[in-house]
């Protein structure tokens, strides 16, 4: 059986165990009329059995799949000629790849192939077959024995719910740990590379330097730029573009959320919300083109008509378009938050003779604050981390300016620029990408901490 069929089999078995667990528990209780004697519900017995049936088997399968190819390879190589065994790692890999391909191919192809390889291919098929049997057998045995074990413990006072909840809790915990580990992983990897970077470029130069010109030579025989790593212009640029984006997204998004949740008819709301959410899913490449080819020239031409000097890749263009993209982040999430405020509060305010807008501003928004701040943070984060739009529409040159009509570059643009075409992390150039990432991380960290404080302070726990 292949792994995927096996998964289905296990799932089916789990389903069956669910039913079986219920039946057993009823039996333990002494019949359907006696189920009330059980400390836990039959359903909980069922679920527990299903978990015992499915979880170990699935975990086993996962581990098996992880190691399968390595083990099979080792077994195969052992049975092959000495020459093959002595091949180096990559040559062996290629050899085995060919063997693998042969093992899948038709008799016709086999006839023409190298007999050693054909022998190996047959051997491989054999090992694979054995492994498949072994795997299926083990999984089934695991399922059955686990079910048998847990069933054997069933008793009237068996606290199935507690065990079940313990398992679920572990699963939840595992999920959070995965989420947390990702965070830690990303932070760590970024951190390590940054430390390496800072060992060649002094942190203060990076943090306070005003000149950014990192495109050092890729190879010994290439001439790059001076290699100045002053990141201030990048942060200034990122902040500028983010501010522009937020100036676009927050008023529009928040007002939209308010309108949808408080003024709009149910019908309008049910259409408008998904409609606006489309904005979040338009490929960022498309936004990039839109910003670079429609908005930027428009702004430049308007500016020039007004006698202003506007860069072709103005921060304004990139920022505005980015703002459009994140509108739904603000609008949809805030809408949900406002909607979750109990009607009693709204009534309380309206009943005092407050106008709708007063109610919204003074009662609903403060009560929905955590949700709104969350939405806002997510939007800022998206703006800060967005890549494609700025790569296409923002500048590449690191200007230190606060003028939205000038061209600026952003951290993400530089990260992309530093990493494309060169992914070996051994030069300050590539490492700088991580230092930038780290700085971005630290900045948003500060933002998040501040937001957490704000929410703590102003959070209005309703009931």
């Amino acid at each position: 059986m292949t792994s995927s069929t096996l998964i289905f089999v296990v799932l089916f078995l789990a389903l069956f165990s669910y039913w079986y667990g219920i039946q057993r528990s009823i039996k333990v209780a002494g019949g359907a009329t006696q189920v009330k004697k059980l400390v836990s519900l039959p359903r909980q017995f069922g679920l527990l059995t299903a978990m015992w049936c499915g979880l170990p088997a699935l975990i086993f399968l996962l581990v098996w799949t992880f190691f399968e190819s390595t083990v099979i390879e080792a077994l195969l190589v052992q049975s092959l000629s000495v020459e093959v065994q002595q091949l180096d790692q990559s040559a062996l890999g290629l050899y085995l790849n060919d063997v693998r391909l042969l093992s899948d191919s038709s008799a016709e192809v086999l006839q023409k192939a190298d007999p050693d390889k054909v022998f190996a291919a047959e051997k491989l098929l054999e090992i694979n077959r054995d492994a498949a049997w072994l795997k299926s057998g083990l999984v089934l045995i695991l399922c059955l024995s686990c079910v048998a074990f847990i069933i054997s413990r069933f008793a009237v006072d068996f606290r199935a719910r507690v065990y079940l909840e313990k398992i679920i809790m572990r699963v939840l915990l595992a999920c959070s740990i995965i989420a947390i580990l990702t965070t830690v992983g990303i932070v760590m990897s970024v951190l390590f590379e940054s430390i390496q970077f800072f060992s060649s470029v002094p942190p203060w130069e990076f943090l306070f330097g005003l000149e950014w010109s990192p495109q050092m030579a890729l190879r010994a025989d290439q001439v790059g730029s001076s290699g100045a790593f002053g990141a201030v212009p990048l942060f200034a640029g990122t902040i500028l573009i983010t501010i522009i984006a937020m100036c676009m997204a927050v008023p529009v998004g928040l007002m939209t959320a308010i309108y949808l949740s408080q003024y709009a008819s149910e019908r309008l709301r049910s259409y408008a919300k998904p409609m606006l959410e489309v904005l979040a899913g338009i490929p960022t490449v498309v936004y990039g083109f839109f910003a670079a080819l429609t908005v930027a020239p428009f702004i430049r031409d308007t500016g020039e008509a007004l006698g202003l000097s506007v860069a072709s890749e103005s921060a304004l263009a990139a920022g505005l378009v980015m703002g459009v993209m994140i509108i739904p982040f603000v609008s949809s999430l805030s809408d949900d938050a406002i909607n979750a405020v109990p009607t009693a509060l709204k009534e309380g305010s309206l009943g005092m003779g407050a106008t709708q807008s007063e109610t919204i501003k003074q009662v609903l928004l403060p009560a929905a604050l955590p949700g709104i701040v969350g939405a806002f943070l997510l939007a800022v984060s998206r703006a800060v981390g967005e890549t494609m739009i700025v790569v296409m529409a923002a500048g590449m040159a690191a200007n230190l300016t606060a003028n939205p009509l000038d061209s600026v570059t952003t951290v993400t643009v530089q990260i992309v620029k530093l990493l494309t075409g060169d992914q070996e992390f051994n030069t300050p150039k590539t490492l700088a990408a991580f230092a930038l990432g780290l700085m971005l991380f630290v900045t948003t960290l500060a933002l998040n901490v501040a937001a957490l404080k704000v929410v703590r302070k102003y959070r209005e726990q309703y009931d």
Binding site: Y95, N97, D98, L218, G224, A296, S312, A397, G421
Partner: protein, 325 residues
Amino acid sequence: AGRDAINVVGSSTVFPFSTVVAERFGKSTDFKTPKIESTGTGGGMKLFCAGTGVNTPDMSNASRRMKKTEFEMCQKNGVTSITEVLVGYDGIVISNSKEASQMSVTRKELYLALAKEVPAKDGSESLIPNPYKTWKDVSPALPANKIEVLGPPPTSGTRDAFVELVMESGCNSFGWIKAMKKKDKNKYKAICHSVREDQAYIETGENDNLIVQKLSSNPKALGIFGFSFLDQNSDKLQGSKVDGKEPTFEAIADGSYPVSRPLYFYVKNAHVGQVPGIKEFLDEFTSNASMGDEGYLTDKGLIPLNKDKREKVRADVLALKPLQL
């Protein structure tokens, strides 16, 4: 199951050509269509030279020749035997929107307009930070437009070629700099290869089409990219004359247009015979039907090799003659 398709990485310039071949190869043989990634020449080389094995690419496209450093890296990582395939040529054009008038520049003017540091205007043998703001500053014959050139970043092979073919030769028009080449090669390179970092040269990712479109919306800007993009967009864009030569198919093919560069790809010989179809793919690629004067690659804008050269390349490639640098 094992890997049954050829993996190719590398230059975005060669990508359009190698994908055409791959597609036909997939359609006309029993082999799977090769998977081709566009990573840029430098990035491709890194992946290619990382070693041999199923997890490494079989071929790498390049819009310039493999550098000696890269070759050494390959050797070090066990990629000892490499076949080089010269595919054809690609003209690098400097073009602008049709709404503006056609430019005619020399390589020296381009150098002066785009270098980070240029020889002082007074003719002394010293360098000053590039003072030119408009084309007219560079040469009175040129229009009074702001210098605004959209071009590729250093990771790109197009940039390498541009720097070597245009900047360096423009540089060489100053005798004292040329003389430096022998004395202090590094300094020479630093002078000739450094592109200005202010607003005048705008690096625009690796996306040539974006440059094309930006040019049509900004008539004052010039853009640097491969000939095929000009060819496809000749209704909107025009190529500037370089040293008096128009960038046309013929001019590039016969070498009279000065800025053209060879396109290559490299094959890991260790993979031939192990990953199915490599030989056949090479056969298809170097065939007359694809690389020939009237081959389908020329439809895509490739400037073909002349017949003798092509036949020699084909013979060498099919014999898997290892590259020596």
